[in-house]
Subunit: 626 residues, 2 copies
C-alpha cells in the first residue's frame, strides 16, 4: 500500500494510482432523467422487495437459526444464500438506508469468535468449514460481506457491519495465509473486496492476501469437475490468460480483483493481462447488448464468436460484473472504450433486468425469445434462471441484489478527475461538485442527444473539461459547442475543452441519435443474414405485441436497404415484411425454399423495455429481406 | 394382453399387433459390410471395454459392496450407475456373450427378498427407497434390468438374469399399483420394459403397470425443479402432448413406452398422439444427422427450429432412443418415414459415437466444433459429456453401453414380414430366413448404391418383396430391376415386387448416391446462409485436418452454385474458398463487413468419421460464397 486511503471520497473503488481518480457519491448527484427514476425505484421499492423476500425465504432467518442452534435443520436456500443478504446490505449502505443497522445486528451474533461467519458450514451437523472450496462459496460470501463493510466505512466511517467485515477479513488472512490453507474459492470476489478493505483501512495484509488469491488461481488447485477447471478460471494463471473464459461472473469478478491488485502493487504486466483479456472478450465473446456469457449450462463464456441470440444467457450479474471491471479499467487507463462498454451494458443489461416497478427481474437476458411465456406468480420463488417474464425472486437470486447495489453506487460512475480537470463518462442530469468546481449537467439522454454542461463554480485558472464521445457515433458526427457558441465536430473518443471557465458558461455536446442498422461480424454464425437496429446506446428489438394477428417475431423480415426512422413513443420504424404462415414440412432440410412475405413497416422498441407489456416473443437480430 | 407371446422370435420388441411383424436375431444375420464390421468390434472390443471400465470405476463392485454390507461408504458413481451394468448385460444377452452369467451371479445376491434391487438406496446410511422419485432413477434402473432380463428370456428362454428381472418387476407392480406409491420415475424407461416383459411372459399385470405409468405422467406429480416439469415430461399427459419436449432421452423412451402400451391395449388415440409428437419433433426439432436434443444445460429439446450446430448436444443415447422409437412406429404403421429417420440416425449419430476400435465414444454429437480439443487420457474417466475427442469413459457413461446394446440387436431392425411378404428397411449384406423364404442381400451400401436381393428359397405362391426407397432419393430417381431385368424408376417410399419368386431370382435396387447440397429451412436461425452436403444417408462435414496451414473450418466457404463431386477415399469435393486470416476488430458489430476469400476446392468427409485423425475443428453447415 502506498498510502492510507482512509478518508477518501465515498467511492465504490478507490485505487491509489491510475490515470483517473474517482469522484464520490458525495461529489456526484444524479438529479433527474432515466437513471434518477431507476434509482428512485431502487431506493423506494427494490431494497425493501429484496429485504422482504429474503425474510420470507429464510435467508436472513439463517443467521437467527445459527445463533439459536437450530441451523442444521432450519437452513434455507443454497450454500451461498448469505451473500445475497450482504449484497443487499452493500446496496443499503451506498443508499443510506436506515434498515442497514437492524440487519447488521441480525448477522453480528452469528459470527464466531475467530471471525468465521457462514450459516451453511461449520456447525454441528453441517459440512466442516472449508471442506469444499470449489463449490462451497465461503470466501465468496466473505467477499460480499467485506464489500458491504467497505461501503459502510466509506459512507459512514464505520459501524457494526464494518467491524464484522474486518473480523471476517482478519479470519480469512489468518486461515489462508502462506502455510495455512493454500487454496482459492471456486467463486472469486474476495479479491476485490480485500483490496478495497486494504484501501479503506490502510492495512497491507488485506492487499497481500488478495494478491495471494490472484496468484494462486490457475494452478489447478480446484477439482476438475463437470465443467472443467476453466469454469472457475483455475485453468490458466491470471497473468498468462489471453481471454475471459469459464463462468462469466466469476471471470469478471476475478479480472476486477486482478486490476485492483495490479494498481496497488504497481504490477503493470498484471494490468496489461487483464486489458488483453477484456479486449479479446469484447471483440469475440460479447453480445450487442454488452451481455457476457452465452452458455446456459455452465453460465460461461462460449468460444470465440459463439453468441447465439436465442440461447443467450447474458446473466444480469455478469452485466454488473462487467460494469465494475470496465470502471476499474477506465480509472486505470483513462481510455473511453471502457466507458463505452459500461454505457452499453448499463442501458441494455443492467437496466433491462428490473421491471419498471423494481419488484421483478430478469436473471438471464436473452436476445431472442421464441415462445410467449407465462406470467410468474407474484408470490413464488422461481426455481430457475430462465423466467419467461421478469420474476419476483429466484431459488438462486443473485441478480436482484446485484442490480440494487449497482444502481445505489451509480453516481460514482458518471465522472472522474485528474490533475488537469474533470471527465464526464456517462450522461445524466447531475450536479458535480469537487474541489473548486461545480458543474450542472442537463440532458434527456438517451432519448435526446444534447448534453449541456453548465459551470456553476470554477477556479480562475484554466482546466480541462473532457466529455466522452461514444464509439457508436462512428459514421455520424457528434458536435461540441463551446461557451462562445463555437461548434466543432468531434470524433469518437474524448472531446476536450481547456480554458478558464467562468460561472454561467455552458458547453453542449450534441450526439447523433438517429436510429442505425448494425450488422454482425461475419464470423458470428448464429446471426448470419440478420441485422439489428440501435439508437444511441440503446439496442432495439421486435416484439410480438407490436405485430398483427398474434404473429410471432420469427415472421419479421427487415430491409436494411432503407433507413430506420424514429417512430412515436421512443419506437423506431423500419421497412420490412411479415412472412406467410408456413405449412408444416415433414423434414426441414433439402432443396432451397423461400418463405412468402408481405411488405410491412415494423415497429421496434428499446430492448430493455421488452416483456413490459406481458408475455411476448422478441428478437434483436432480425433476418433481412435481402 | 391378447396372447401369450412366449416363444416369439428373438426380437428386441414384440408387439402383438401392428402393420408389420419383426424378424428375430435368429432370422436375420448381417454377414458383411459396414454394420458387420461395427458389430464385430462391438462383440470383440466394446463389450469387454465397458465391462472392464465398470469394474475399474466400481459400478459392478457396488453390487458386491451391497452384499458385503459396506455400500454406505463404498458406493461409487452416480445414483443411476446400476443401469449401465444392466445395459451392458442386455447387450451381452443379445450378443450371446459368455460373460453374462458371471455378471448375473454378481448382481443376484444384492436383490432384497421383496425384489427391491438398487445399490444407491435403501440400505442403512443410504437415502430411503423411493425417497426421490424425480431424481433417484430407481425405476429407470429397473427398466434397464428388465430389458436385459427380456433379452435373456428371448435369446435363451430364461436364466438367472430373467428371474432377477421378474422379481424386480413383481416388486414394482406391488409397490406402484393403485393405492401404492402412485408416482412415476423422473426418467422413463420402465414403461417399455414392463410391456416387453408382459409380451415375453404373457403376464397381464406388467402391462397394466406400464399403462399406469404412462397415464400418471403429465399430471404434475413430480417436483417443479430447476428445469421445470417439462424436463421429465410431467407437464402434459402423453396423450395430449403435441411434440417431444424436455430431456430428449426421457421424452423418446417415454414415447416408445407409450407406443408399446398403445399396441397392447388397442389404444389408437395414444398411438396417434405419439405419431403426432414424432412428426412435429422431426419437422422442427431434429438435426440433419437425426440427432435430437439441442440444449447442453438440461439435455433437452429446444423450442421449434432451435438447432444450433455449435452447441448441438445431440446425445448419443437420444439417437439410440430415437431409433428404438422409430422402430416401434415402423412396426405399428408400416410407414417408411420411420425407417428413413432410423437410417439417418444410425449412420450419423449411433455410428458416430464409437471410435473405429470400439473403445472410445462421443457422448454429445455436435455439428460444429470450433476449437481443436485435447486427446483424452486413455485411463481417465471424463467428468463431463463434452469430450473434445471420443473418450474411453465418462463419469455419467450412459452412451457406451447404449451403443453396445443397439449394435447387438441391430439385425432385427433390417427387415420385417406381414401376411403378404417380406419388407427390407435397412440395407446391409445379410441372410434373411423366415417361414419358407430365404433371401441373401448383397451391397456395399452406403458406399455404393446397388442393393441386390437374391432369392435362395421361396414358396411357390406369389408374395411381395418390399424395399424401402429412402426419402433422400427425392430429386434423383432410384431404380428397381426385377428378376427379368426390367428396370423401373421408383419414388421415395416403398418399392414392391409381387410374384412367385424362384430360387436364384435376383432383384436390384439402385439408389442414386451422388453427393448433393442440402439447405436448411429458413426458420432455423442458427444455420441461415449455410449449406450442407449429403451423400446417400451420410451427412458430410469439413474438418480442419483437410485444410492447409493450420486453418480452421470457420474459414471455409462453399459455392452451392456448382455441383459437389465424389473425391478419393469416400470424400466429397466441393468448390469453395478460404477466407483471409482476420485482423482483430475491437467490437464485432457495426457497418457491413466482407471477409476476403481465396477460391479453393474443399474436401469433405463423412460426419461419422470426424475426429478420427486427432484433434480438429469441424463443421457440417458451411457458409456460402453467395
Amino acid at each position: 500500500m502506498k498510502e492510507n486511503t482512509q478518508g477518501r471520497p465515498v467511492v465504490p473503488a478507490a485505487p491509489s494510482r491510475g490515470r483517473l481518480r474517482p469522484l464520490g457519491l458525495d461529489e456526484v448527484r444524479i438529479t433527474g432523467g432515466f437513471w434518477a427514476r431507476r434509482r428512485h425505484v431502487n431506493t423506494t421499492a427494490t431494497l425493501d422487495h429484496c429485504h422482504q423476500w429474503m425474510e420470507r425465504v429464510g435467508w436472513i432467518g439463517n443467521f437467527r437459526a445459527a445463533v439459536e442452534g437450530r441451523i442444521q435443520q432450519d437452513h434455507r436456500g443454497r450454500e451461498f444464500a448469505d451473500s445475497d443478504v450482504y449484497k443487499l446490505m452493500e446496496a443499503m449502505a451506498w443508499d443510506g438506508s436506515p434498515a442497514l443497522d437492524a440487519l447488521s445486528a441480525t448477522i453480528a451474533p452469528a459470527q464466531e469468535p475467530d471471525g468465521y461467519l457462514n450459516t451453511a458450514y461449520g456447525r454441528p451437523g453441517q459440512q466442516p468449514r472449508y471442506s469444499d472450496l470449489a463449490w462451497g462459496h465461503e470466501l465468496y460470501c466473505y467477499g460480499h460481506l467485506i464489500q458491504a463493510g467497505v461501503a459502510q466505512l466509506r459512507t459512514r466511517g464505520g459501524g457494526e457491519l464494518a467491524e464484522i467485515a474486518r473480523r471476517a477479513a482478519d479470519h480469512v488472512c489468518a486461515t489462508f495465509k502462506p502455510g495455512g490453507i493454500e487454496g482459492v474459492c471456486g467463486h472469486p470476489v474476495i479479491e476485490t473486496a480485500l483490496v478495497e478493505l486494504a484501501r479503506a483501512t490502510g492495512e497491507q495484509r488485506y492487499l497481500d492476501q488478495a494478491a495471494l488469491f490472484v496468484d494462486r488461481r490457475g494452478q489447478g488447485t480446484l477439482e476438475d469437475g463437470e465443467f472443467g477447471r476453466v469454469y472457475y478460471q483455475d485453468d490458466v494463471p491470471v497473468r498468462e490468460a489471453t481471454v475471459l473464459r469459464g463462468h462469466a461472473v466469476r471471470a469478471l469478478y476475478l479480472a476486477a480483483g486482478a486490476v485492483d491488485v495490479a494498481m496497488e502493487t504497481d504490477d503493470d504486466p498484471l494490468l496489461a493481462a487483464v486489458v488483453r483479456q477484456w479486449e479479446t472478450a469484447v471483440a469475440r465473446r460479447t453480445y450487442l447488448t454488452g451481455g457476457m456469457g452465452s452458455h446456459h449450462r455452465d453460465e460461461s463464456f462460449g468460444d470465440d464468436f459463439v453468441l447465439p441470440p436465442d440461447r443467450a444467457y447474458s446473466e444480469t450479474c455478469a452485466g454488473v460484473a462487467s460494469v465494475l471491471l470496465s470502471w476499474r479499467l477506465l480509472l486505470a487507463t483513462g481510455e473511453p472504450r471502457f466507458a463505452d462498454l459500461a454505457e452499453r451494458t448499463l442501458y441494455n443489461v443492467v437496466a433491462t433486468s428490473p421491471a419498471e416497478d423494481g419488484r421483478s427481474f430478469f436473471y438471464a437476458n436473452t436476445l431472442h425469445r421464441r415462445r410467449r411465456g407465462t406470467v410468474p406468480a407474484p408470490d413464488v420463488q422461481i426455481p430457475r434462471a430462465e423466467s419467461s417474464l421478469r420474476a419476483p425472486w429466484f431459488a438462486v437470486s443473485c441478480c436482484p441484489t446485484n442490480v440494487a447495489r449497482t444502481l445505489a453506487q451509480l453516481p460514482a460512475h458518471l465522472a472522474t478527475k485528474d490533475d488537469h480537470g474533470i471527465q464526464l463518462h456517462q450522461y445524466a442530469d447531475a450536479l458535480i461538485t469537487t474541489g473548486g468546481v461545480a458543474l450542472r449537467v442537463r440532458t434527456d439522454y438517451p432519448s435526446d442527444g444534447r448534453v449541456t454542461v453548465r459551470i456553476d463554480r470554477s477556479p480562475e485558472h484554466p482546466w480541462t473539461l473532457s466529455l466522452r464521445v461514444p464509439a457508436w457515433t462512428e459514421g455520424a458526427p457528434a458536435w461540441l459547442v463551446d461557451p462562445d457558441g463555437e461548434r466543432c465536430a468531434v470524433a469518437p473518443g474524448t472531446a476536450q475543452l481547456t480554458r478558464a471557465f467562468r460561472p454561467g458558461d455552458e458547453i453542449h455536446l450534441d450526439l447523433p441519435l438517429a436510429p442505425r442498422w448494425t450488422r454482425p461480424d461475419p464470423r458470428i454464425d448464429a446471426v448470419r443474414g440478420t441485422v439489428a437496429v440501435e439508437r444511441g446506446p440503446l439496442v432495439y428489438c421486435a416484439e410480438s405485441v407490436d405485430l398483427p394477428g398474434g404473429r410471432d417475431v420469427d415472421a419479421v423480415r427487415v430491409d436494411p436497404g432503407a433507413e430506420p426512422e424514429d417512430g412515436p413513443d421512443g419506437t423506431v420504424v423500419v421497412p420490412g415484411a411479415l412472412t406467410a404462415v408456413e405449412q408444416e414440412t415433414g423434414w426441414p432440410y433439402g432443396a432451397a425454399r423461400q418463405l412468402g412475405a408481405e411488405p410491412r413497416d415494423i415497429a421496434l422498441v428499446p430492448y430493455r423495455t421488452w416483456a413490459n407489456r406481458g408475455p411476448s416473443t422478441m428478437r434483436v437480430w432480425i433476418p433481412t429481406t435481402e
